[in-house]
């Protein structure tokens, strides 16, 4: 049961990623499918560009699996824009039953869990998951328009311009297994500093990870990698400390999508990458291909989301956060073992 572990029988069978200029110049640059050095993807606004990334990645994922959109039973999608409009407009051309989701930067994991539940429960043959973020759209909505040239604090993270689309199918399909999952319980960090999202979200990541290890009896050594979504350097270090204080040392297996996607020295992103797109494109561009090829056999994918709004912060509220966990296993576990 979901208070504990959700057992799933589903596979991620196809995916696609799109990124902007900065992401394409980072350490994972060669891993991504679609890139636009203008960040505009042929659109007039940053918001429309974000939508266009969603549209194109889903088209590519569907094409790769040689499906028709009509064969897909669910579309779980969401993003950071007010009222999740990147998804609403970006996916409007697809004739697929649509469930909007909001998990902030944890959206990719929330979508994969819901897709896994729909497929495992027999309500879908195919379910799709799409999410995105766009640096220029996020900055002007959450902070200030880029033109203001506001100075960033050391704990600030850089919202990734990117989108990822994933097709989840039944266990009999070829793909990377979604074998287990755990839906996060929101935690109040007490943090009010929106320039320290990693710090605000670490407590939620620790909570979900601890609950998962307690309920499963698994230990960090059972995994090739435990990877958070966008805790960045600040939050990632807090997560490792929090887990250690619980007697669980994850240091050896731990990494973070927000740390992997940018070069800390060369790209000046302060505490790392963030945004719904950060975990999504790192999963699609880097982690899933490694699982597909058997380079890694079993990972815990743990995206986190900060659930505040600019208005709630102005009203003096703290930042609540949530972290959803997805256990992913190589498509060919038997051969590799």
């Amino acid at each position: 049961m979901a208070q504990g572990i959700i057992r799933l029988q589903a596979k991620i069978c196809a995916w696609a990623t799109a990124v902007g200029k900065k992401e394409s110049e980072g350490p994972l640059g060669s891993c991504f499918d679609l890139k636009d050095p203008t960040d505009q993807f042929g659109q007039k606004t940053w918001e429309a560009a974000e939508s266009e990334m969603q549209r194109r990645t889903l088209a590519l994922a569907i094409q790769r699996r040689e499906l028709k959109a009509e064969e897909i039973d669910f579309l779980f999608a969401g993003d950071l824009l007010n009222q999740c409009v990147a998804s609403a407009y970006g996916l409007l051309e697809y004739p697929i039953p649509y469930c909007g989701i909001y998990g902030a930067c944890s959206t990719s994991a929330e979508g994969l869990l819901l897709a896994g539940i729909a497929v495992s429960g027999g309500m879908a043959n195919w379910a799709s998951v799409v999410t995105s973020s766009h640096n220029s759209a996020a900055e002007r909505q959450y902070r200030t328009p880029l033109e203001y040239g506001a100075q960033r604090s050391p704990t600030a993270q850089w919202t990734v311009t990117g989108a990822g689309a994933f097709l989840v199918g039944k266990e009999r399909e070829e793909g990377v297994s979604i074998s287990r999952g755990m839906v996060g319980i929101p935690r109040d960090s007490g943090v009010k500093d929106t320039a320290n999202m990693g710090g605000a979200m670490a407590i939620a990541a620790a909570d979900t990870l601890k609950r998962f290890f307690d309920a499963s009896g698994a230990s960090p050594a059972d995994y090739d990698r435990i990877i958070s979504g966008d805790l960045g350097y600040e939050g990632g270090s807090i997560l490792c400390d929090l887990m250690k204080s619980e007697g669980i040392d994850i240091q050896e297996q731990y990494s973070d999508c927000g740390q992997l996607i940018f070069d800390r020295e060369r790209q000046d992103v302060h505490s790392g990458g963030s945004g719904c797109g950060c975990a999504a494109v790192t999963l699609g561009g880097y982690l899933l291909p490694r699982l597909w090829d058997g380079i890694e056999k079993k990972i815990l994918f743990l995206p986190t989301g900060a659930l505040m709004s600019p208005d709630s912060i102005k009203q003096g509220r703290t930042i609540p956060a949530v972290a959803h966990l997805v256990e992913l296993e190589s498509r060919t576990p038997r051969e590799n073992e």
Copy 2:
């Protein structure tokens, strides 16, 4: 499969509603559980008041079913505020795995479908659904602060101040059956007038309803009531016309939560009620008790959501909309038949 009909084995076993002053003075006023003539629910801001309505309704629903929060496996929640903060803050005290959803005013139906899927698929014993809207919070976010006294156009609707919480359990529990469902496919209305949301959403309602009748072979006469969420007078009349043009006459069974909740003459709401809370409190306050008591045996509940944002409208986009359908059956169908 979801492109068609989703068959569910789940029941709505408990629920609770909260409303503000205007709703408590309307035709359904006596049906609601919690009322506050100040619309503030003891809070300092309208946004916090909306959160508090969510918190209290879920507490009451859990208490009515004599459950503990820890026994609930999922919490599906969402609202109209940017980043869905009414839900994020309102439900933070509950130790329940949390999936944020965004379906605008269709959120109650999206939540019930996902809860039904989780329960029917064996991933949950209990799943909860909470949603809300608050007139004063919605007005200042979507349009102008109330203090401006802006004039409203004839097709404008009145955002309901209200929240509804629902507990969905297994088929063996006593409750109102969620027997089938259909997830909506978003449709572009072509409408750009945010003071005519009913007009923008009617096409999505017609699409889902037509798909459901086509796939199920059912006809309007099979239902005591076909009830949309908040199409209001303008959108409701368009829906009936659209269905008639498809050869399906729903006039006799049709009503709309946004038409039922306010007195059109006495309460000056122009085209009726709207908001996530509109369908949720009408379902919880009025429809579910009637289904529980067998006054009505079978209804189609069809909330609609407009998926634009104030920013997307300023950027010249049209209003996309979605409508999710939930088939509800009396808790005691055999005795009544």
